[in-house]
Protein backbone atom coordinates (compact mmCIF):
# COMPACT_ATOMS: atom_id res chain seq x y z
CA UNK A 1 0.00 0.00 0.00
CA UNK A 2 1.38 3.40 -0.95
CA UNK A 3 -1.49 5.39 0.47
CA UNK A 4 -1.58 6.51 4.04
CA UNK A 5 -3.74 4.51 6.41
CA UNK A 6 -5.84 7.55 7.33
CA UNK A 7 -6.52 8.52 3.71
CA UNK A 8 -7.56 4.99 2.89
CA UNK A 9 -10.07 5.02 5.77
CA UNK A 10 -11.46 8.35 4.60
CA UNK A 11 -11.83 6.93 1.09
CA UNK A 12 -13.63 3.82 2.32
CA UNK A 13 -16.05 5.86 4.42
CA UNK A 14 -16.76 8.24 1.55
CA UNK A 15 -17.38 5.34 -0.84
CA UNK A 16 -19.75 3.63 1.59
CA UNK A 17 -21.69 6.86 2.03
CA UNK A 18 -21.77 7.99 -1.60
CA UNK A 19 -21.85 4.71 -3.50
CA UNK A 20 -23.41 2.11 -1.18
CA UNK A 21 -25.85 3.88 1.13
CA UNK A 22 -27.40 5.80 -1.75
CA UNK A 23 -28.37 2.47 -3.36
CA UNK A 24 -29.41 0.60 -0.22
CA UNK A 25 -33.01 0.79 1.02
CA UNK A 26 -33.21 -1.79 3.86
CA UNK A 27 -33.23 0.13 7.13
CA UNK A 28 -31.35 -2.49 9.17
CA UNK A 29 -28.71 -3.00 6.48
CA UNK A 30 -28.20 0.77 6.28
CA UNK A 31 -27.71 0.89 10.06
CA UNK A 32 -25.04 -1.78 9.73
CA UNK A 33 -23.21 0.20 7.05
CA UNK A 34 -23.10 3.12 9.46
CA UNK A 35 -21.70 0.65 12.00
CA UNK A 36 -18.88 -0.18 9.56
CA UNK A 37 -18.19 3.52 9.04
CA UNK A 38 -18.15 4.02 12.80
CA UNK A 39 -15.57 1.23 13.21
CA UNK A 40 -13.45 2.62 10.36
CA UNK A 41 -13.44 6.06 12.01
CA UNK A 42 -12.07 4.43 15.16
CA UNK A 43 -9.35 2.67 13.18
CA UNK A 44 -8.35 6.03 11.72
CA UNK A 45 -7.51 7.50 15.14
CA UNK A 46 -6.20 4.34 16.84
CA UNK A 47 -4.65 2.08 14.22
CA UNK A 48 -1.92 2.17 11.58
CA UNK A 49 -0.18 -0.17 9.17
CA UNK A 50 1.32 -3.23 10.82
CA UNK A 51 4.97 -2.70 11.86
CA UNK A 52 5.83 -6.31 10.99
CA UNK A 53 5.98 -5.63 7.25
CA UNK A 54 8.18 -2.55 7.73
CA UNK A 55 10.50 -4.44 10.09
CA UNK A 56 11.03 -7.13 7.48
CA UNK A 57 11.73 -4.50 4.84
CA UNK A 58 14.19 -2.73 7.14
CA UNK A 59 15.97 -6.01 7.90
CA UNK A 60 16.32 -6.82 4.21
CA UNK A 61 17.67 -3.32 3.52
CA UNK A 62 20.16 -3.51 6.35
CA UNK A 63 21.37 -6.95 5.30
CA UNK A 64 22.13 -5.59 1.84
CA UNK A 65 23.77 -2.41 3.16
CA UNK A 66 25.94 -4.41 5.56
CA UNK A 67 27.08 -6.65 2.69
CA UNK A 68 27.79 -3.71 0.38
CA UNK A 69 29.58 -1.49 2.91
CA UNK A 70 33.06 -3.11 2.59
CA UNK A 71 32.79 -3.09 -1.19
CA UNK A 72 32.12 0.60 -1.84
CA UNK A 73 33.74 3.91 -0.76
CA UNK A 74 30.47 5.22 0.69
CA UNK A 75 29.24 5.94 4.21
CA UNK A 76 26.23 3.66 4.47
CA UNK A 77 23.89 3.57 7.49
CA UNK A 78 24.41 0.79 10.01
CA UNK A 79 21.27 1.04 12.11
CA UNK A 80 20.43 -1.68 14.64
CA UNK A 81 17.06 -3.30 13.96
CA UNK A 82 14.32 -1.65 16.02
CA UNK A 83 12.66 -3.86 18.63
CA UNK A 84 9.04 -2.74 18.93
CA UNK A 85 6.85 -4.06 21.75
CA UNK A 86 3.93 -6.10 20.40
CA UNK A 87 0.54 -4.52 21.15
CA UNK A 88 -0.65 -7.70 22.86
CA UNK A 89 2.18 -7.34 25.35
CA UNK A 90 1.29 -3.69 26.00
CA UNK A 91 -2.34 -4.69 26.60
CA UNK A 92 -1.20 -7.32 29.11
CA UNK A 93 0.92 -4.74 30.91
CA UNK A 94 -2.00 -2.28 31.01
CA UNK A 95 -4.30 -4.93 32.51
CA UNK A 96 -1.65 -5.98 35.04
CA UNK A 97 -1.27 -2.32 36.03
CA UNK A 98 -5.02 -2.01 36.47
CA UNK A 99 -5.07 -5.13 38.64
CA UNK A 100 -2.39 -3.52 40.79
CA UNK A 101 -4.52 -0.36 41.09
CA UNK A 102 -7.47 -2.54 42.10
CA UNK A 103 -5.38 -4.14 44.82
CA UNK A 104 -4.68 -0.64 46.14
CA UNK A 105 -8.43 0.04 46.17
CA UNK A 106 -9.00 -3.16 48.14
CA UNK A 107 -6.26 -2.14 50.55
CA UNK A 108 -7.96 1.24 51.08
CA UNK A 109 -11.18 -0.52 52.08
CA UNK A 110 -9.42 -3.05 54.30
CA UNK A 111 -6.09 -2.76 56.11
CA UNK A 112 -5.79 0.99 55.42
CA UNK A 113 -8.76 1.73 57.66
CA UNK A 114 -6.30 1.91 60.54
CA UNK A 115 -3.65 3.80 58.56
CA UNK A 116 -2.69 7.46 58.81
CA UNK A 117 -5.50 9.49 57.12
CA UNK A 118 -2.98 11.74 55.36
CA UNK A 119 -1.30 8.72 53.80
CA UNK A 120 -4.68 7.25 52.85
CA UNK A 121 -5.72 10.51 51.19
CA UNK A 122 -2.45 10.69 49.27
CA UNK A 123 -2.86 7.13 48.00
CA UNK A 124 -6.47 7.82 47.03
CA UNK A 125 -5.42 10.96 45.14
CA UNK A 126 -2.81 9.09 43.10
CA UNK A 127 -5.29 6.31 42.43
CA UNK A 128 -7.95 8.68 41.14
CA UNK A 129 -5.48 10.48 38.87
CA UNK A 130 -4.37 7.18 37.34
CA UNK A 131 -7.94 5.95 36.79
CA UNK A 132 -8.97 9.24 35.17
CA UNK A 133 -5.88 9.36 32.97
CA UNK A 134 -6.78 5.99 31.46
CA UNK A 135 -10.29 7.02 30.39
CA UNK A 136 -9.25 10.56 29.41
CA UNK A 137 -6.65 9.20 27.03
CA UNK A 138 -9.17 6.79 25.57
CA UNK A 139 -11.69 9.59 25.04
CA UNK A 140 -9.06 11.76 23.37
CA UNK A 141 -8.56 8.97 20.82
CA UNK A 142 -12.23 8.30 20.07
CA UNK A 143 -14.22 9.63 17.12
CA UNK A 144 -17.80 10.87 17.45
CA UNK A 145 -20.00 7.73 17.55
CA UNK A 146 -22.69 7.43 14.87
CA UNK A 147 -25.51 6.16 17.12
CA UNK A 148 -28.19 8.31 15.47
CA UNK A 149 -27.24 6.95 12.05
CA UNK A 150 -26.90 3.32 13.22
CA UNK A 151 -30.28 3.37 14.93
CA UNK A 152 -32.21 5.07 12.16
CA UNK A 153 -30.30 3.86 9.10
CA UNK A 154 -30.37 7.49 7.93
CA UNK A 155 -27.63 10.02 7.30
CA UNK A 156 -27.57 12.66 10.03
Amino acid sequence: MNNSFARLIDGMCATLRAEVLTRLTDEFARGQVFGVINALNTFKVRADWSAALLLEQLAAQQEALDAIRPLVPLSLPAEPAPVPTPTAELLQRRDAGNRALLSVLTWLDGPAAAADPVRRAAVEGHLRRAMRAEVDLELRHSPRPLFAEMSSGREA
Binding site: N98, P145, A148, S151
Partner: protein, 349 residues
Protein backbone atom coordinates in the same frame (compact mmCIF):
# COMPACT_ATOMS: atom_id res chain seq x y z
CA UNK B 1 -32.36 -26.12 13.04
CA UNK B 2 -32.57 -22.72 14.72
CA UNK B 3 -34.57 -20.36 12.48
CA UNK B 4 -32.95 -17.18 13.81
CA UNK B 5 -31.05 -15.50 11.02
CA UNK B 6 -33.27 -17.04 8.34
CA UNK B 7 -36.39 -14.90 7.98
CA UNK B 8 -38.24 -17.41 5.79
CA UNK B 9 -37.64 -20.29 8.20
CA UNK B 10 -38.71 -18.09 11.09
CA UNK B 11 -41.90 -17.06 9.27
CA UNK B 12 -42.72 -20.74 8.69
CA UNK B 13 -42.25 -21.51 12.40
CA UNK B 14 -44.43 -18.53 13.36
CA UNK B 15 -47.15 -19.72 10.98
CA UNK B 16 -47.07 -23.19 12.51
CA UNK B 17 -47.18 -21.84 16.07
CA UNK B 18 -49.98 -19.33 15.50
CA UNK B 19 -52.06 -21.87 13.58
CA UNK B 20 -51.90 -24.12 16.65
CA UNK B 21 -52.68 -21.26 19.02
CA UNK B 22 -55.58 -19.88 16.95
CA UNK B 23 -57.02 -23.28 16.12
CA UNK B 24 -57.42 -22.27 12.48
CA UNK B 25 -55.08 -21.81 9.49
CA UNK B 26 -52.97 -18.68 9.83
CA UNK B 27 -50.66 -17.37 7.15
CA UNK B 28 -47.59 -15.22 7.73
CA UNK B 29 -46.20 -12.80 5.11
CA UNK B 30 -42.63 -11.54 4.78
CA UNK B 31 -41.34 -10.55 8.21
CA UNK B 32 -39.33 -7.35 8.67
CA UNK B 33 -36.65 -6.73 11.29
CA UNK B 34 -36.35 -3.29 12.88
CA UNK B 35 -32.92 -1.72 13.48
CA UNK B 36 -34.09 -0.59 16.94
CA UNK B 37 -33.01 -2.28 20.13
CA UNK B 38 -29.63 -3.65 21.11
CA UNK B 39 -30.77 -6.73 22.95
CA UNK B 40 -34.03 -8.39 21.92
CA UNK B 41 -34.68 -8.75 18.20
CA UNK B 42 -37.84 -6.98 17.05
CA UNK B 43 -39.82 -7.96 13.95
CA UNK B 44 -43.03 -6.80 12.26
CA UNK B 45 -45.02 -9.91 11.33
CA UNK B 46 -47.90 -9.61 8.81
CA UNK B 47 -50.54 -12.20 9.71
CA UNK B 48 -53.75 -13.31 7.98
CA UNK B 49 -56.43 -15.56 9.43
CA UNK B 50 -56.45 -14.48 13.07
CA UNK B 51 -60.05 -14.26 14.23
CA UNK B 52 -61.17 -13.82 10.63
CA UNK B 53 -59.51 -10.46 10.32
CA UNK B 54 -57.81 -8.95 7.34
CA UNK B 55 -54.01 -9.07 7.34
CA UNK B 56 -52.65 -7.28 10.38
CA UNK B 57 -49.17 -6.75 11.69
CA UNK B 58 -48.07 -7.94 15.12
CA UNK B 59 -44.77 -7.28 16.81
CA UNK B 60 -42.59 -10.29 17.61
CA UNK B 61 -39.76 -9.88 20.12
CA UNK B 62 -37.15 -12.61 20.35
CA UNK B 63 -34.48 -12.87 23.04
CA UNK B 64 -31.61 -14.77 21.37
CA UNK B 65 -29.35 -17.03 23.40
CA UNK B 66 -26.37 -14.90 22.36
CA UNK B 67 -28.00 -11.55 23.23
CA UNK B 68 -26.68 -8.88 25.60
CA UNK B 69 -28.63 -9.95 28.70
CA UNK B 70 -29.12 -13.64 27.80
CA UNK B 71 -30.43 -15.97 29.03
CA UNK B 72 -33.76 -14.29 28.47
CA UNK B 73 -37.27 -14.82 29.69
CA UNK B 74 -40.29 -13.19 28.06
CA UNK B 75 -42.28 -13.55 31.27
CA UNK B 76 -41.28 -10.27 33.06
CA UNK B 77 -42.16 -8.19 30.00
CA UNK B 78 -45.50 -9.93 29.59
CA UNK B 79 -46.20 -9.58 33.32
CA UNK B 80 -45.49 -5.86 33.06
CA UNK B 81 -47.63 -5.34 29.96
CA UNK B 82 -50.53 -7.25 31.53
CA UNK B 83 -50.13 -5.39 34.81
CA UNK B 84 -50.33 -2.01 33.11
CA UNK B 85 -52.94 -2.85 30.46
CA UNK B 86 -55.83 -1.44 32.56
CA UNK B 87 -53.82 1.54 33.88
CA UNK B 88 -52.89 5.05 32.72
CA UNK B 89 -49.62 3.67 31.37
CA UNK B 90 -50.09 3.05 27.63
CA UNK B 91 -48.75 -0.41 26.78
CA UNK B 92 -49.12 -2.66 23.74
CA UNK B 93 -51.47 -5.56 24.30
CA UNK B 94 -49.49 -8.73 24.99
CA UNK B 95 -50.58 -11.90 23.18
CA UNK B 96 -48.69 -15.17 23.14
CA UNK B 97 -45.33 -15.81 24.70
CA UNK B 98 -43.04 -18.67 25.64
CA UNK B 99 -39.54 -19.20 26.96
CA UNK B 100 -39.24 -22.51 25.09
CA UNK B 101 -36.51 -22.06 22.42
CA UNK B 102 -37.79 -25.13 20.57
CA UNK B 103 -40.72 -23.11 19.21
CA UNK B 104 -39.11 -20.11 17.47
CA UNK B 105 -35.45 -20.59 18.32
CA UNK B 106 -35.49 -18.30 21.39
CA UNK B 107 -37.82 -17.01 24.12
CA UNK B 108 -40.41 -14.75 22.48
CA UNK B 109 -43.51 -12.68 22.87
CA UNK B 110 -46.09 -11.38 20.42
CA UNK B 111 -47.74 -8.06 21.10
CA UNK B 112 -49.89 -5.49 19.43
CA UNK B 113 -48.19 -3.16 16.92
CA UNK B 114 -48.98 0.24 18.37
CA UNK B 115 -49.27 3.16 16.00
CA UNK B 116 -46.64 5.86 16.01
CA UNK B 117 -42.94 6.50 15.80
CA UNK B 118 -40.12 6.72 18.30
CA UNK B 119 -38.47 10.04 19.12
CA UNK B 120 -34.83 9.03 18.93
CA UNK B 121 -32.54 10.08 21.77
CA UNK B 122 -29.39 10.35 19.66
CA UNK B 123 -29.64 13.24 17.24
CA UNK B 124 -26.95 15.18 15.39
CA UNK B 125 -26.16 18.74 16.41
CA UNK B 126 -27.79 19.94 13.17
CA UNK B 127 -31.19 18.50 14.18
CA UNK B 128 -33.69 21.30 14.96
CA UNK B 129 -35.23 21.18 18.46
CA UNK B 130 -38.69 19.68 18.92
CA UNK B 131 -41.48 22.21 18.27
CA UNK B 132 -42.36 23.87 21.57
CA UNK B 133 -46.06 22.96 21.75
CA UNK B 134 -45.34 19.39 20.69
CA UNK B 135 -42.51 19.09 23.21
CA UNK B 136 -44.72 20.22 26.07
CA UNK B 137 -47.63 18.01 24.99
CA UNK B 138 -45.55 14.86 24.68
CA UNK B 139 -43.44 15.81 27.71
CA UNK B 140 -46.56 16.06 29.88
CA UNK B 141 -47.64 12.55 28.89
CA UNK B 142 -44.08 11.28 29.29
CA UNK B 143 -44.05 12.47 32.91
CA UNK B 144 -47.60 11.37 33.67
CA UNK B 145 -47.10 7.86 32.33
CA UNK B 146 -43.97 7.46 34.47
CA UNK B 147 -45.81 8.76 37.54
CA UNK B 148 -48.69 6.33 36.86
CA UNK B 149 -46.16 3.51 36.55
CA UNK B 150 -44.68 4.37 39.94
CA UNK B 151 -48.10 5.01 41.53
CA UNK B 152 -49.38 1.54 40.79
CA UNK B 153 -49.99 -0.74 43.73
CA UNK B 154 -48.27 -3.79 42.29
CA UNK B 155 -48.88 -6.17 45.16
CA UNK B 156 -52.00 -7.80 43.69
CA UNK B 157 -50.75 -7.64 40.10
CA UNK B 158 -48.96 -10.22 37.90
CA UNK B 159 -45.73 -8.26 38.37
CA UNK B 160 -45.73 -9.04 42.11
CA UNK B 161 -43.92 -12.26 41.15
CA UNK B 162 -40.74 -10.13 40.97
CA UNK B 163 -40.95 -9.12 44.63
CA UNK B 164 -39.02 -12.11 45.88
CA UNK B 165 -35.36 -12.48 45.17
CA UNK B 166 -32.67 -14.87 46.16
CA UNK B 167 -30.07 -12.12 46.40
CA UNK B 168 -31.35 -10.11 49.37
CA UNK B 169 -31.00 -11.18 52.99
CA UNK B 170 -34.71 -11.68 53.66
CA UNK B 171 -35.63 -12.66 50.11
CA UNK B 172 -37.66 -9.54 49.32
CA UNK B 173 -37.03 -6.07 47.92
CA UNK B 174 -37.53 -3.43 50.59
CA UNK B 175 -37.04 0.37 50.68
CA UNK B 176 -33.90 -0.26 52.73
CA UNK B 177 -32.25 -2.80 50.42
CA UNK B 178 -33.48 -1.64 46.97
CA UNK B 179 -30.33 0.37 46.14
CA UNK B 180 -27.95 -2.29 47.44
CA UNK B 181 -29.81 -4.95 45.47
CA UNK B 182 -29.60 -2.90 42.25
CA UNK B 183 -25.86 -2.24 42.69
CA UNK B 184 -25.11 -5.89 43.43
CA UNK B 185 -27.02 -6.96 40.30
CA UNK B 186 -24.79 -4.77 38.11
CA UNK B 187 -21.65 -5.70 40.02
CA UNK B 188 -22.36 -9.32 39.09
CA UNK B 189 -22.99 -8.35 35.47
CA UNK B 190 -19.70 -6.42 35.28
CA UNK B 191 -17.88 -9.44 36.74
CA UNK B 192 -19.48 -11.52 33.99
CA UNK B 193 -18.99 -9.13 31.07
CA UNK B 194 -15.84 -7.07 31.55
CA UNK B 195 -13.02 -8.34 29.35
CA UNK B 196 -10.39 -6.45 31.33
CA UNK B 197 -10.08 -4.78 34.73
CA UNK B 198 -11.78 -1.36 35.03
CA UNK B 199 -10.57 0.28 38.27
CA UNK B 200 -12.92 3.23 37.72
CA UNK B 201 -15.95 0.90 37.58
CA UNK B 202 -14.84 -0.64 40.89
CA UNK B 203 -14.42 2.86 42.27
CA UNK B 204 -18.05 3.61 41.29
CA UNK B 205 -19.34 0.38 42.86
CA UNK B 206 -17.46 1.17 46.05
CA UNK B 207 -19.01 4.67 46.20
CA UNK B 208 -22.49 3.32 45.49
CA UNK B 209 -22.18 0.66 48.20
CA UNK B 210 -21.15 3.32 50.70
CA UNK B 211 -24.00 5.74 49.90
CA UNK B 212 -27.14 3.58 49.44
CA UNK B 213 -30.29 5.70 49.96
CA UNK B 214 -33.57 4.39 51.40
CA UNK B 215 -36.35 4.31 48.79
CA UNK B 216 -39.51 6.32 49.52
CA UNK B 217 -41.39 3.12 48.65
CA UNK B 218 -40.84 0.04 46.50
CA UNK B 219 -42.40 0.61 43.08
CA UNK B 220 -42.26 -0.90 39.63
CA UNK B 221 -39.15 0.44 37.88
CA UNK B 222 -39.19 0.39 34.07
CA UNK B 223 -35.41 0.30 33.91
CA UNK B 224 -35.05 1.92 30.48
CA UNK B 225 -37.59 4.76 30.45
CA UNK B 226 -36.49 7.34 27.88
CA UNK B 227 -37.01 8.67 24.38
CA UNK B 228 -36.59 5.87 21.90
CA UNK B 229 -38.58 3.52 24.12
CA UNK B 230 -42.07 4.92 23.56
CA UNK B 231 -44.17 5.55 20.47
CA UNK B 232 -45.89 8.83 19.68
CA UNK B 233 -48.83 9.21 17.29
CA UNK B 234 -50.47 12.56 16.48
CA UNK B 235 -49.03 14.14 19.62
CA UNK B 236 -50.15 11.28 21.89
CA UNK B 237 -47.90 8.66 23.48
CA UNK B 238 -49.43 5.46 22.16
CA UNK B 239 -47.20 2.89 23.87
CA UNK B 240 -44.38 2.58 26.38
CA UNK B 241 -42.02 -0.11 25.02
CA UNK B 242 -38.97 -2.18 25.95
CA UNK B 243 -39.89 -3.66 29.31
CA UNK B 244 -36.99 -6.10 29.42
CA UNK B 245 -35.28 -4.37 32.37
CA UNK B 246 -38.47 -4.00 34.43
CA UNK B 247 -38.04 -4.76 38.14
CA UNK B 248 -39.07 -3.59 41.59
CA UNK B 249 -37.04 -0.92 43.32
CA UNK B 250 -36.64 2.79 44.03
CA UNK B 251 -38.56 5.06 41.60
CA UNK B 252 -35.62 7.51 41.68
CA UNK B 253 -33.81 4.97 39.50
CA UNK B 254 -36.14 5.82 36.59
CA UNK B 255 -35.93 9.57 37.31
CA UNK B 256 -32.16 9.40 37.11
CA UNK B 257 -32.21 7.34 33.91
CA UNK B 258 -34.43 9.95 32.24
CA UNK B 259 -31.84 12.60 33.12
CA UNK B 260 -28.84 10.88 31.51
CA UNK B 261 -26.87 13.43 29.45
CA UNK B 262 -26.73 11.16 26.40
CA UNK B 263 -30.53 11.28 26.09
CA UNK B 264 -30.75 15.09 25.96
CA UNK B 265 -29.94 15.11 22.24
CA UNK B 266 -27.97 18.34 22.55
CA UNK B 267 -30.95 20.15 24.12
CA UNK B 268 -31.27 21.49 27.68
CA UNK B 269 -34.27 19.18 28.22
CA UNK B 270 -34.43 15.77 29.87
CA UNK B 271 -34.95 13.26 27.05
CA UNK B 272 -35.34 16.27 24.69
CA UNK B 273 -38.75 16.88 26.29
CA UNK B 274 -38.77 18.27 29.82
CA UNK B 275 -37.20 21.12 31.74
CA UNK B 276 -35.68 19.39 34.78
CA UNK B 277 -37.63 21.47 37.35
CA UNK B 278 -40.91 20.83 35.56
CA UNK B 279 -40.16 17.13 35.24
CA UNK B 280 -39.47 16.63 38.96
CA UNK B 281 -42.33 18.86 40.15
CA UNK B 282 -44.96 17.32 37.90
CA UNK B 283 -43.79 13.77 38.58
CA UNK B 284 -43.99 14.38 42.35
CA UNK B 285 -47.49 15.86 42.05
CA UNK B 286 -48.71 13.01 39.84
CA UNK B 287 -47.06 10.14 41.69
CA UNK B 288 -47.62 11.41 45.23
CA UNK B 289 -43.94 10.72 46.00
CA UNK B 290 -41.60 13.54 47.03
CA UNK B 291 -38.45 13.83 44.94
CA UNK B 292 -35.24 13.44 46.89
CA UNK B 293 -32.55 15.07 44.74
CA UNK B 294 -29.79 13.31 46.68
CA UNK B 295 -31.37 10.02 45.61
CA UNK B 296 -31.64 11.25 42.01
CA UNK B 297 -27.92 12.07 42.04
CA UNK B 298 -27.13 8.68 43.59
CA UNK B 299 -29.05 6.89 40.86
CA UNK B 300 -27.42 9.07 38.18
CA UNK B 301 -24.10 7.61 39.29
CA UNK B 302 -25.70 4.17 39.25
CA UNK B 303 -27.18 4.77 35.78
CA UNK B 304 -23.79 5.62 34.33
CA UNK B 305 -22.32 2.47 35.85
CA UNK B 306 -25.26 0.51 34.41
CA UNK B 307 -24.66 2.02 30.96
CA UNK B 308 -20.95 1.23 31.20
CA UNK B 309 -21.83 -2.37 32.13
CA UNK B 310 -24.20 -2.66 29.16
CA UNK B 311 -21.46 -1.38 26.86
CA UNK B 312 -19.03 -3.95 28.34
CA UNK B 313 -21.59 -6.63 27.49
CA UNK B 314 -21.87 -5.36 23.93
CA UNK B 315 -18.10 -5.50 23.46
CA UNK B 316 -17.93 -9.03 24.89
CA UNK B 317 -20.79 -10.39 22.76
CA UNK B 318 -19.12 -9.06 19.63
CA UNK B 319 -15.65 -10.23 20.66
CA UNK B 320 -16.89 -13.76 21.28
CA UNK B 321 -18.42 -13.80 17.82
CA UNK B 322 -21.90 -14.37 19.19
CA UNK B 323 -23.16 -12.00 16.54
CA UNK B 324 -21.80 -9.51 14.06
CA UNK B 325 -24.15 -6.59 14.65
CA UNK B 326 -21.78 -3.65 14.15
CA UNK B 327 -23.66 -1.46 16.59
CA UNK B 328 -22.19 -3.61 19.37
CA UNK B 329 -18.51 -2.59 19.04
CA UNK B 330 -19.71 1.01 18.70
CA UNK B 331 -21.49 0.64 22.03
CA UNK B 332 -18.44 -1.07 23.47
CA UNK B 333 -16.35 1.98 22.68
CA UNK B 334 -18.51 4.09 25.03
CA UNK B 335 -17.41 2.45 28.30
CA UNK B 336 -14.82 5.18 28.93
CA UNK B 337 -17.37 7.95 28.27
CA UNK B 338 -19.77 6.55 30.87
CA UNK B 339 -17.10 5.92 33.49
CA UNK B 340 -15.64 9.41 33.08
CA UNK B 341 -19.07 11.02 33.51
CA UNK B 342 -19.74 8.77 36.51
CA UNK B 343 -16.47 9.82 38.12
CA UNK B 344 -17.30 13.51 37.63
CA UNK B 345 -20.67 13.02 39.33
CA UNK B 346 -19.04 11.24 42.26
CA UNK B 347 -16.54 14.05 42.59
CA UNK B 348 -19.28 16.67 42.72
CA UNK B 349 -21.52 14.69 45.09
Amino acid sequence: MNPLGDDRALAARIEQYLTTQAGRPVTVGPIRRFPVGFSWLTFAVPISGLEGEETRELILRLGPADGLFAPYSATPQVQAMRTFAPSDVPVPRAYWHSDDPAILGAPFLFCEKAEGHAIVPWVPASEPPLEEGYRKRVGTQFIDALAALHRLDWRDQPIAAMATTATTADGTITPENAAHHAVQAYKRLIDRWAMRPYPLAEWGIRWLEQHCPVAPRVTVVHGDYRTGNFLEHDGRISAILDWELVHLGDPHEDLAWVSMPMYKGGSPYLCRLCEPEWFYERWAAQSGIAVNMASVRYYQVFSLLKLAATHMAAARCFEEGRFNDLRMPAMGSQVATCLRQMDKLIESA
